[in-house]
């Protein structure tokens, strides 16, 4: 928007000078507006804070190239997609590591809070981490980002039907994983 108005008012040369001086500043503003949410999303997709930052840094570097060319209309959506793609490639790379880690997840639950609600959330989080990657991504995008099925499908590069089935299977798997605790029973009761 700012760019187009500048182009109208001042012409190409001045615009080039202005762009050269303000590009990084403008992108810093974009970064400030989106980076926190992006890191959180990356963390929920990977369960690894360091890797989440790595993913977000790479995603922003990619976004910057497109953003500079004026190809990005909705930075938030573009960034979400970039983060999801980066997370996907990272997850693929460390698939075996994750499988090993998931076997030990019962031992890595960390310090549990005395607060029951917090304990429940922790238990649910453990179950989310044990979901297969595709189900987990669909669940995170649907329930954390509150995206519609169509938006989720666009980010994941699949059909709406696939998103529906992934989310449905994810929820069913969560029920199974939480069957040992009272949470699954409570959710079944709440749903009926």
């Amino acid at each position: 928007m700012v760019t187009s108005s500048l182009r109208c008012e001042t012409g190409g040369d001045v615009l080039a000078m202005v762009r050269a001086g303000t590009d990084s500043g403008s992108f810093a503003a974009v970064f400030n507006a989106h980076h926190r949410q992006a890191v959180r999303l990356a963390y929920l997709l990977t369960s690894d804070a360091d890797q989440a930052e790595d993913i977000v840094a790479e995603a922003f570097a990619k976004v910057y190239v497109r953003w500079q060319r004026g190809d990005v209309r909705d930075v938030g959506a573009y960034l979400r997609r970039a983060v999801a793609n980066e997370a996907n490639s990272k997850l693929r790379r460390r698939y075996l590591e994750r499988r090993e880690a998931s076997k030990r997840s019962g031992d890595e639950r960390g310090v549990r809070t005395v607060d029951d609600a917090a304990a429940d959330r922790d238990e649910v989080w453990q179950a989310i981490q044990r979901l297969p990657d595709r189900q987990r991504k669909a669940v995170v995008l649907r329930y954390y980002e509150d995206l519609s099925e169509a938006e989720t499908a666009e980010i994941l590069g699949c059909s709406v039907g696939t998103v529906k089935s992934q989310v449905s299977r994810g929820l069913a798997r969560m029920q199974e994983l939480l069957a040992g605790s009272g949470l699954a029973a409570a959710s079944e009761g709440g749903g009926s």
Binding site: A28, L41, E53, V56, A61, G191
Partner: protein, 144 residues
């Protein structure tokens, strides 16, 4: 299932709230952007250099294809003729379609080969039949 969805939402929100990006993240982004830019410049430079090398190699080959058939090389003529080939006394000339003998020493046409004597050096003109020279109308002109 709605309860499960609610639990998932709460869990994800609570977990996300605990995550705060480090201040170094922007520097990392900046570093990666710079690295991408360098890589871009390098890759364009390499592509340009490859194009130049390809042009240097390809242009002469392409030009060679359109040179046409190979030219026959003609060696330069010897400056000095082989000995005995050129007469120093008499040569045969063509005058108005009639072959005649010309005495190089006098610069006049020879009427009869006998005038030159039998010891004259051989020349292409001597191979011609005398009747040819004598039948020329101009050769009948009396020698001065």
């Amino acid at each position: 299932m709605e309860r499960m969805e609610q639990l998932i939402r709460e869990s994800l929100q609570a977990r996300a709230q605990d995550v705060e990006p480090t201040p170094a993240l922007w520097l990392e982004v900046d570093r990666r952007v710079a690295r991408r830019r360098r890589f871009q410049v390098l890759s364009w430079s390499l592509a340009g250099a490859a194009a130049v090398v390809a042009a240097v190699l390809a242009v002469p080959a392409i030009v060679g294809l359109f040179d046409g058939p190979e030219q026959l090389e003609i060696p330069p003529l010897d400056r000095t003729p082989a000995a005995g080939v050129v007469s120093t006394h008499v040569v045969a000339i063509e005058d108005d379609g009639v072959a005649r003998l010309l005495d190089l020493r006098t610069g006049e046409a020879v009427r009869d080969l006998a005038e030159l004597g039998s010891s004259r050096p051989t020349s292409p003109s001597r191979r011609r039949p005398p009747s040819t020279a004598s039948s020329s109308p101009r050769s009948r002109r009396p020698a001065s």
